[in-house]
Symmetry: C2
Subunit: 365 residues, 2 copies
């Protein structure tokens, strides 16, 4: 797998007249090497790939990770930078006769750039910021990756269905989110793909609510936004429902959101422009009089990262391509009342799109 | 709390002739504002502080976080950047008559810097990279912060003691780490402060081992490195022991590590140089013939971040100061055999140091 990905990357390097690239972004690092160690924040890197246009690629890391690096990144030569990355690059770059070196501008600290610049200037190496060289090839998923996204979603839905019976008045947002995340891992997920959102009542008016001690009462909204990582691939799903008998206002608003979701999905196919998909869903919500209440984008790509390209945003002129996988998640939020968001994942195909989710709980009321 | 921290920061701004600072680093953002939303990676910021030398400070965020920002950052004016941070800065900076603006170089992407540079050049604003302006004031903990670190550690030890009885042959590394992290949250932690390390047998030879399906057998090493976050503050503790009757080699190596830990702790006091503390512990391990087996630094600061300044490293000439809180965690690692690491946290005082930990399980064998 990583061999063919490396070949694709090297073609891109050749096309851009680059001699090598430094890969710092952890998902890109895994995508190309199979090395799974995560970064604990950008300041605590578990390693950097140095991939020359030809010859053996390197995984540069420190002694804490030697064994894991050697076991996982079999196609890479592991080199240790116990005196810092720059000092190792100082040694390696001249040996490899690199003259033009790309680095990942969107995952490279300003402070690290300063050091890299000093080092490469001395070595007469030109450094070239790259923003999406590897992200671009990650946008379109292979059928193996789509299968992995299916498995991740299936597991996510199984977790939802497992915890669903525990959602009763009296449970707190924190208790429920902990139960969800524990169940994820018990059923085989590596970890949640993001902090699980469990929001009751008017807490659900915050699109990115954090769970609190608040306990569920009858007659309140329940919003759950959850995802997990399985074998490296993310899932992401949101369900909103009413505890007890929903009132008319809830029903009406929920149906608007669902209608907007379906309207968005109906426009998704290879060739569709991202912002047009966003517009199709947004129009439904605006026509219902809730334009201001839908204050985020319609969706985002999902893969090794839970939020990646493409973005279904009213600012994106990107065209969808077959094999892209995106969420469709319209929502309306009213301070003091609550929010409703419904989210499914779809695979873009030539003639339309394919739903990744099979769970239909509380979608059509 | 945040008012006095803002006052300290403003003094530093004046001293450096800076008109304002952009605070992007999430711990710094919380430290100064009380706003708790985490970043999901550096590419997904939950907000940025813009703190002018005088006048009201701002929390810049997007509409997903409006409510939370207003509730938590009471001393800040919340402004939304739904068209991007740069476009909002373009509007705000001229209004505030800012001429010299600091930004956090160690938490600012190269790609974002390029945009900021373009924007500020047009506005004739000088931008000044800052590497540790706020981190510096975080190094020395107030007594309130020390109390919070005590509470975090007490809870961490309670979790360790709670799960200790479950450590029996047959349990897997993954099961035990999940049990630890679930117990943390059930007992009131916000989350683990890092991915819990549970390593059995020769897996413990990786200082940053990730839990696997491997099941514990009698006669194997058990290494557990765990920490949690409570009220924003981190704990961090490592215990290593032998399942069953330890053999002579294990006992000897364990005692060397413990002796090294005590030797390091004995040198800690205000005025001691970080690398001298590292050397004191390293010497004990070297004298036992295990110099190569101790391949990481002796310790690190702990506070809002689980790894922060100061570093007890053989490269750090920094002097310890009263109120700093550091881990002391020597270790020895042998591929094919396993590893032993023992870690406690201490508070630096004028006349020595004070142990934060009270747990003594498996320290002195």
């Amino acid at each position: 797998m990583t061999i063919s990905r490396l070949a694709t990357l090297r073609k891109m390097l050749r096309r851009r007249k680059l001699d090598a690239i430094l890969v710092t972004q952890p998902d890109n690092r895994f995508f190309l090497s199979g090395y799974t160690a995560p970064d604990h924040g950008i300041g605590e890197s578990s390693g950097v790939l140095l991939i020359p246009r030809q010859g053996e690629p390197f995984l540069l890391t420190d002694s804490r990770f030697t064994l894991q690096a050697q076991q996982e990144a079999c196609d890479f030569q592991v080199e240790l930078y116990n005196r810092g990355l720059i000092s190792l690059l100082n040694k390696l770059l001249p040996q490899l006769a690199i003259k033009r070196l790309a680095f990942e501008s969107t995952y490279f600290l300003h402070s690290s750039f300063n050091k890299l610049e000093k080092c490469t200037q001395k070595l007469a190496i030109e450094i070239v910021p790259s923003t999406d060289l590897i992200e671009k090839s990650r946008e379109i998923k292979s059928e193996e990756e789509i299968a992995a996204l299916h498995l991740s979603t299936q597991l996510n839905e199984k977790v939802f269905q497992t915890i669903y019976s525990q959602i009763e008045p009296g449970i707190s947002e924190l208790e429920l989110s902990l139960e969800i995340e524990t169940t994820m891992r018990k059923l085989g997920a590596q970890r949640p793909s993001f902090d699980t959102i469990v929001a009751f009542g008017d807490n659900s008016a915050k699109p990115h609510a954090m769970p609190t001690e608040r306990r569920l009462q009858d007659g309140e909204i329940v919003l759950i936004d959850m995802g997990l990582i399985k074998d490296g691939y993310c899932s992401d799903m949101t369900r909103t429902f009413f505890m007890g008998q929903p009132d008319e206002l809830y029903l009406q608003r929920h149906r608007v959101v669902r209608k907007a979701q379906l309207a968005g999905i109906a426009t998704i196919r290879a060739g569709a422009v991202c912002r047009d998909v966003d517009t199709a869903a947004r129009k439904v919500i605006a026509e219902a009089g809730y334009k201001e209440a839908f204050a985020h984008s319609l969706g985002h790509g999902v893969g090794l990262a839970v939020h990646e390209e493409p973005r279904l945003s009213n600012r994106s002129r990107k065209k969808l391509r077959s094999g892209m996988v995106v969420t469709v998640e319209p929502g309306v939020y009213f301070q003091g009342w609550g929010g409703i968001r419904l989210e499914n994942m779809v695979i873009v195909r030539d003639d339309g799109c394919e739903l990744v989710n099979t769970d239909t709980t509380h979608l059509d009321l």
